[in-house]
């Protein structure tokens, strides 16, 4: 039996010890004497969040299918264990072997959101790996960053030996083979990194310098080696049906956020909403074949015993084989008493029919994401959802028995006016009114309809048409939230509408990290040293400490957030080629300002640049 890294009395005093013991169904334990490469795969947040991430399940399964690699999982120790590990100097360990991460060959960290940056430093620190890549000795693991935040890696560049830009399925084997070759030849860490920089999609930050102008903007980059690439092109899977997919996902003992089989039906999105980073990063849209998905669904349900399956994609309604797949799942899952959950479906007659088959209508709620309160602003953000469509969908749903509706909006979008904000309350009200118009009095369950309207604050992200846009200040955000609330309170049906909003402080910080440069790293390190951790958890977010750190580092938050960027400003992330061209994004930014919508990929190609990959929808057209 494996020896646990933590003594019984430690496990007995921390919350949810199951986070730290491994041993889950389908977790992979190998004989370390028979593997060449030990890989620690980390999601820098608490176990329940990290275990819900599909990307790690994919790479974990793919790596462990290779006989010479043993991939283990690592998550952020929660604050209670964090304290004990520091006190007792217990090194961070992999869940499978319970052995220290510092003794492994690689530490791969997926970076899914900006607010986990201090958690990355916690992982390195607890693992007893020097925080700065340049300070690491020959024996330290190679620290790799990946995921959406790696598309602007500069604010955290100094903490990573290399970044893998793009989808993980394609280049890891080549990276591992080079690692083994270099090791056999007696090469150094630097030799490995130098060679790795020649592999497509791999970015080694230490080989570049970022240069600034007097006004603080980026002037350009200087390469420290002639033979490293000027631009890093993202990696992407060419054939989604042929690529590896996990059929034995790890089954956690404790309840996690995503406690179900997840079926990724396609990657990418045809829609081109101008605020959405994922919609640009994962272009072009590529579907998985429905027959293959049926096999995966069957196998994964059998191998996990999960009682629920969920479809995953950015916009499931756009999947062309949805009908066929759902017919199969409904029949197969009903027999096995498996629930189907269907996020990201457009509300129309078809989806309502499907949902009424797989959900308890009385208990479930419908979700619309208009994102903006007025048609004008929806045109600016290119959200192709009209009021007519929303009201029609809502009326259909109410007729079908649904009584709960969730609405998602953003505040602080470019060009937003008070009128647009008032539109949020008005639209919420119209949906409530649609209920009373549709459902006769005697048929109303409890006589009520429940509209939950939520707003988040808009944060401009790299590689979107809004990467040039100024972000609001905290005060502006709060004013906008008040105006939204006031607008809702003025409505006739205000008693049927509940309003939720996000906190503004963390959004401002996220805005800095999203479009930050290398100078931001010092602030992150300082904040971590002063105790910042789990910043995405509001109870652990200390805005005052962060403000202090910005001041001490002499960095102005407004420079990164509220400043309007010139069309020709060089951005810290410009050296990364995500497929979509800067020319396209600028064109879209100008169309946004002109309130002009752009058709989606299926309607008419917009020449975004991703066509050169020659895959998915770009090939079909």
């Amino acid at each position: 039996m494996r020896k646990l890294a933590l003594r019984d009395e430690i496990l007995m005093q921390v919350e949810k010890p199951a986070r730290y013991i491994g041993n889950e169904v389908n977790s992979v334990v190998k004989d370390k004497a028979h593997v060449e490469i030990r890989f620690a795969m980390c999601f820098p947040d608490v176990y329940e969040i990290g275990m819900s991430h599909l990307g790690i399940q994919i790479l974990y399964s793919m790596f462990n299918a290779w006989a010479d690699v043993w991939c283990e999982r690592v998550y952020s120790p929660w604050v209670d264990l964090d304290r004990i590990m520091r006190q007792e100097k217990i090194p961070l360990f992999g869940l499978e072997s319970q052995e220290p991460v510092k003794d492994m060959d690689f530490l791969g960290i997926t970076i899914q959101y900006e607010m986990c940056y201090t958690n990355i430093l916690q992982i390195l620190d607890l693992a007893q790996i020097p925080l700065s890549a340049k300070e690491r000795g020959e024996d330290a693991p190679i620290v790799i960053g990946g995921g959406p935040c790696a598309y602007n890696p500069e604010p955290i560049a100094e903490f990573f030996d290399l970044f893998y830009i793009g989808e993980g399925e394609t280049q890891y084997r080549r990276l591992f083979d080079w690692y083994l070759e270099n090791r056999r030849a007696g090469g150094t860490r630097l030799d490995f990194l130098h060679g790795a920089a020649g592999i497509p999609g791999i970015y080694v930050p230490r080989f570049y310098e970022e240069l600034y102008r007097a006004d603080g903007t980026v002037q350009g980059r200087r390469k420290l080696y002639d033979d490293v690439p000027d631009r890093i092109t993202k990696e992407l899977v060419k054939d989604m049906t042929a690529v590896h997919y996990p059929q034995k996902p790890v089954v956690p003992f404790i309840k996690v956020t995503q406690d179900r089989v997840v079926l990724e039906i396609q990657r990418g999105c045809i829609r081109g909403c101008r605020f959405c980073q994922a919609g640009q990063l994962y272009r072009p849209v590529r579907e998985r074949d429905a027959d293959k998905l049926k096999e995966y669904a069957k196998a994964a349900l059998q191998n996990t015993g999960h009682e629920e399956i969920s479809l995953s994609s950015l916009s499931s309604s756009d999947y062309t084989q949805l009908n066929e797949l759902l017919d199969f799942l409904i029949e197969d899952c009903d027999r096995k008493h498996v629930n189907i959950s269907l996020p990201s479906l457009r509300i129309d007659a078809f989806s309502l029919d499907v949902m009424s088959k797989v959900q308890d209508v009385k208990k479930s709620s419908l979700t619309f994401a208009p994102e903006a309160g007025s048609q004008r602003l929806r045109d600016v953000i290119n959200k192709g959802l009209t009021e007519e469509v929303i009201l029609k969908g809502a009326a259909l749903a109410f007729a079908g028995g649904w009584t709960r509706v969730k609405l998602y909006f953003m505040l602080g979008l470019p060009t937003e006016t008070e009128e647009d904000i008032r539109g949020i309350g008005e639209l919420s009200n119209k949906i409530a009114a649609a209920f009373f118009d549709t459902v006769p009095k005697d048929k109303r369950v409890n006589g009520k309809v429940q509209i939950v309207t939520s707003t988040s604050f808009f944060i401009p992200k790299p590689f979107t048409p809004f990467q040039w846009a100024p972000m609001c200040t905290k005060e502006e955000f709060i004013d906008k939230a008040y105006l939204t609330k006031k607008g809702i309170m003025e409505q006739l049906n205000q008693k049927s509408i509940k309003y939720n909003w996000h906190e503004a402080d963390a959004s401002v910080l996220e805005g800095v990290f999203a479009r930050g440069d290398r100078r931001v790293a010092e602030v992150i390190r300082k904040a971590y040293e002063r105790g910042c951790l789990f910043d995405s958890w509001s109870e652990y977010f200390h805005n005052d400490v962060w403000l202090e750190c910005f001041a001490d580092c002499g960095l102005d938050i407004g420079f990164y957030t509220t400043r309007e960027r010139a069309d020709d400003e060089i951005f810290p992330w410009d050296f990364i080629d995500c497929g979509v061209t800067r020319e396209f994004l600028l064109r879209e930014w100008n169309r946004a300002k002109a309130q002009t919508v752009s058709p989606n990929c299926k309607e008419q190609c917009q020449g975004c640049g991703a066509g050169r990959f020659g895959v998915g929808i770009c090939k079909e057209r």
Binding site: M1, R2, L4, D8, E9, L11, M12, P17, A18, I21, G22, N23, E24, V25, V251, F253, I254, K255, L301, Q302, N303, T304, G305, H306, E307, K336, H337, N339, D360
Partner: protein
């Protein structure tokens, strides 16, 4: 068909709580293709019930759960199918088909036996599970011979005064120096083994921290005695056994 499953839970699995064990078995039953009965309604759930919840940190070789199935080949097949999908630290020990009129496992529980042993590395004197206590047998005997064993239990509502003696059926040393006890485990008079051990240590004037010893449940029993008779404790798995039925 009613099925009673006996299982062991040890090693790292002792840190998995009762509710998570239920979730674990719900998924395991699907993986093993057991034709379990589901409840009616929009959200059907498996017909499954556990005998006596086990505290986090305690190991057991005498855990029970009852399920209802619509069909099966044989108890042996089911045991094999389940063991094929278990993780390290959970082991199916037996599968028994129960008579239809049997009381469910949870309602049947009357007593449980436990072993309390020193954890490895806590005592140089006794490396093999025993306690650093001179004349353990004599001290246990003295402790058990008391007419009353008062114990103050702290609950959320306040403190409660208990007499452990009523529900402490047996207390004896093991050959390796560990302690074995049989206690009331019914819903009305459940006694935690740690309460007995703590009380014993106090009376013997020794100080052993809770982190230093391991509690292991050995067996869970039902009481087959008729009204007025002395206790007749029988392991829950033996209830459906023909010999017991006839008696």
């Amino acid at each position: 068909m009613k099925i009673r499953i006996k299982f062991a839970k040890y090693g790292a699995m002792k840190f998995i709580g009762h509710l998570d064990m239920m979730r674990y078995f719900q998924k395991a039953i699907r993986r093993a293709d057991i034709d379990i009965r589901y409840s009616e309604g929009f959200n059907p759930h498996q017909i499954m019930s556990f005998a006596a919840p086990l505290g986090v940190g305690i190991e057991s070789y005498g855990e029970y759960m009852d399920i209802e199935v619509l069909s099966m080949t044989s108890a042996e097949d089911m045991k094999r199918a389940l063991n094929d999908v278990m993780v390290e630290g959970v082991e199916i020990l037996s599968v028994n088909v129960m008579p239809d009129d049997v009381k469910n496992a949870m309602a049947s529980v009357a007593a449980a036996s436990y072993r309390i042993a020193m954890k490895e590395g806590y005592s140089e004197k006794t490396p093999s599970g025993g306690f650093p206590i001179d004349d353990l047998a004599g001290k246990l005997q003295t402790f058990y011979a008391q007419e009353h064993i008062p114990y103050t239990k702290e609950t959320k509502k306040g403190v409660a005064e208990l007499d452990l003696k009523e529900g402490l059926y047996e207390l004896a040393p093991e050959p390796d120096g560990a302690i074995r006890m049989l206690v009331n485990a019914s819903s009305s008079g459940n006694i935690k083994p740690a309460m007995v051990f703590e009380s014993f240590c106090k009376s013997a004037g020794i100080d052993i921290p809770q982190t230093a010893y391991q509690v292991t449940r050995l067996e869970t029993y039902t009481d087959m005695a008729k009204d007025g008779e002395a206790h007749k404790f029988v392991p829950l798995s033996d209830v459906g056994n023909d010999d017991n039925r006839k008696r």
